[in-house]
């Protein structure tokens, strides 16, 4: 149905796509796989009209297809739904569904008609929502479904789903999958980008793997073993796969001790001891209060009960600055809004916390900054043409590494990581897990919040389990089974 041949697109200094072929059949789910920076996003942008290709041809249902912009692509029936849902939470569900093409009479919106049409669309997709309610009053998962419904509402022939499940829980993922299957049954072709291999296998008929802007191959899902898929993506074997090495708990002195720390309406009081050379995990569903524990510990939110001790003496942590002075570091979950300072360079992002701790008056010299940036770019394998590149132009995994570098540069004693591997590709994922293990073994105290239970089971010495904004247990004997049971029980 959609056929792209020899798509090439270069940016200054990098060829993002190099003669890539891609095809999509009607009613098929075609997963586009690759590490961050492989060229997936660029290919999607070309297919959906957000970027023009430098060369190459596209054919949509037998006709030449060269959209001049996303609006033209949508008119041709090619829609994209992105990771960050781009709907308007302050409008109703129906208004979001028909934004820009509301049914009108004499220039006035026919609200009743719009609501009726919205109910039809949602009923056709088996979604039970109140179309008059504000979209913002629904959880993110529902907004994601509405975004897809908006795309599918009209006559979408090609639907691109870019990391649609990144912020969804298992039940919500099932709901989204059901919606996708209903669409493909109607003949819509779906291009899926996801870093969850399970989900890719559950949904996709074919895989296309990109690496460094080049097409590595297109294969039917049923003929492609998982191990081979991953090695196609990485370009190497998987011998470095995560394996838990035997390790005796080498924890040293307690660095930070929290007793009954909490804030009304946010999270109930929790207890935590964080020791040198120990990684403590935090597990729980979304909204269970995991992130809030980190915010309280780091002073990003002030606590109204409980107490914190560092090195045995009681401390008040009222702001991130207080926490940083105590030797804490915190890489937040929302990388874009809370982590990176987008328009600033990789170098500036890396030295930011160190400079903030030194104060405005004692400037780190430019030579020293260059040296620090170069050291961490090398040490963490941050892929960037140079340290002066704005960080927003890096891929997610590399942004995450730069954020870790920001904290490592301050030589923290306690590092708090909130979903450090979320939304990043397989290769960077493995590197970050390895880094966490290494930091732990070097004597840092770590508190790692993660939804990836295998990952927690691999490196956490203990796991704090959260449920309904409450700490419900501390597992000493860590395994995926035990965590799942503790979350569910």
């Amino acid at each position: 149905m959609l056929e792209a041949r020899g798509i090439t697109r270069a940016f200054p200094g990098v060829v993002a796509l190099d003669g890539v072929d891609f095809s999509l059949a009607a009613g098929e789910v075609h997963a586009l796989m690759g590490e961050n920076g492989a060229g997936k996003s660029t290919l999607i942008k070309v297919l959906t009209g957000a970027l023009a290709a430098d060369s190459g041809t596209m054919v949509l249902e037998g006709e030449g297809y060269a959209p001049s912009g996303t609006a033209a692509a949508q008119a041709a029936g090619v829609w994209a739904v992105h990771q960050e849902v781009s709907l308007l939470p302050n409008l109703s569900v129906a208004e979001n569904l028909f934004l820009g093409m509301q049914p009108t009479r004499f220039g006035l919106i026919r609200r009743g008609e719009m609501h009726r049409m919205a109910r039809d669309v949602l009923a056709g997709l088996d979604l039970d929502l109140d179309v008059t309610r504000l979209l913002g009053s629904y959880p993110v998962a529902v907004r994601q479904l509405v975004a897809i419904a908006r795309a599918a509402r009209g006559d979408a022939r090609v639907l691109v789903l870019d990391e649609p499940t990144a912020s969804l829980d298992a039940a919500e993922v099932e709901k989204l999958f059901a919606l996708v299957r209903r669409l493909t049954a109607k003949g819509t072709g779906v291009i899926l980008i996801t870093h969850f291999l399970d989900q890719a296998y559950a949904l996709a008929d074919r895989f296309t793997v990109l690496r460094n802007g080049k097409l590595i191959g297109t294969r039917a899902a049923k003929d492609l073993p998982r191990l081979e898929l991953v090695s196609m993506m990485l370009g190497k074997g998987l011998e470095e796969a995560v394996q838990r090495p035997a390790r005796e708990a080498a924890s040293g002195a307690v660095i930070a001790r929290f007793r009954g720390l909490g804030r009304k309406g946010l999270v109930e009081g929790f207890d935590l001891d964080l020791s040198s050379g120990e990684a403590v995990g935090a597990a729980g569903l979304l909204g269970s209060g995991r992130t809030e524990t980190a915010m309280l510990m780091f002073g990003a939110t002030t606590s109204d009960k409980g107490k914190a001790e560092v090195d045995g003496s009681e401390v008040r942590i009222r702001s991130p600055r207080d926490a940083i002075r105590l030797g804490f570091g915190f890489a937040p979950e929302e990388r874009k809004t809370d982590g990176i300072v987008g328009a600033l360079s990789v170098r500036e992002n890396i030295v930011l916390a160190l400079q903030a701790r030194a104060g405005w008056f004692r400037k780190i010299s430019r030579e020293k900054q260059d040296e620090i940036a170069a050291r961490y770019i090398d040490l963490l394998g941050i892929r960037t043409p140079d340290a002066e590149k704005p960080i927003e132009q890096l891929s997610g995994g590399n942004q995450q590494k730069a954020l870790l570098a920001r904290w490592l540069a301050t030589a923290p004693r306690l590092l708090i990581l909130d979903e450090p591997t979320r939304g990043i590709d397989v290769g960077a994922h493995a590197e970050i897990v390895k880094l966490i293990e290494q930091l732990r073994d070097d004597g840092m105290a770590l508190y790692v919040i993660s939804s990836e239970l295998e990952e927690l089971a691999a490196y956490a010495d203990r796991v704090s389990v959260m449920r309904d904004r409450k700490q419900v247990g501390m597992l000493e004997d860590v395994s995926v089974d035990a965590i799942v049971k503790a979350i569910a029980s």
Binding site: P320, R321, F330, L344, L352, K363
Partner: protein, 322 residues
Amino acid sequence: MRKAAPQLIALGLLLLADWIVFPGFFSLSIAEGRLTGSLIDILNRGAPVALLALGMAPVIATRGIDLSVGAVMAIAGAVAAVSVEAGYPWWLAVAFALGAGLAAGLWNGALVALLEIQPIVATLVLMVAGRGIAQLITEGRIVTFTEPHLAALGSGSVIGVPVPIVIALAMVAGLTLLARRTALGLFIEAVGVNPRASRLAGINTRGLLIAAYAGSGLMAALAGVIVAADIRGADANNAGLWLELDAILAVVLGGASLFGGRLSFAMTLLGALTLQALKTGILLAGFPPEFNLVAMAAVVSVLLVVQAPTIRSRLARGRART
């Protein structure tokens, strides 16, 4: 330097145009121990707006704006004139005026940083009320004075160079040093781009915002003193009227974005000079006065279009291809 290319070219073209309409444009002479000529005139007349713009630049870099600077000029001029008339020494009168500007800036900063009121609204309060405060201080009169030292701040000269120019250049140099030699530049840009992330990285975002607005108030007061000194009097109704808009325009002409994150004092000065070169050129060209504002609007539009991100990236791509 390459970053400043569009601004330098714009200023160069404007000066060239000024020369075409007024052949004596580049000639300098010394009259009564003082440099004179159109270029000096541009610098001298542009100094107050340049000072306002230098104070405005950090505020805009934090994604804020300060609409009150024109009114703060009026307050500072009134304070200086009234104090010196009341018999205080000239330096104390200047100190009072700067103190008033600082207080105004702290007020703005507190509204923005502590109460988290949107900058345009927070500073609108003082933009409207400030002129009233200035009128209260002068009791509705135009307060004139004859104190020679104070007057020299507006019309004196140092080895032939008019004092306002000396003050403005000293401020550019001092602020540039402050931004380069300390981490303030980095912090201000970081807060402008992403305040949440900056706070989590340990930057004292509130203190920084308050400092930015306080600095803007201080620079506005300095400009107000110079303007009052130049005319040897404080006119609460007209001093600094609409100059907040000139200051914002100067910062933007200097290549900054109202979305914050870019701070350069040297570029801001270029922007202020461009604006003044334009104004002077229009006067020299001898258009009927009713054309002045239209001509200015046309040139400013062209300058802003050339600097617009979409145009810039298109030009950059064109260059990369060839």
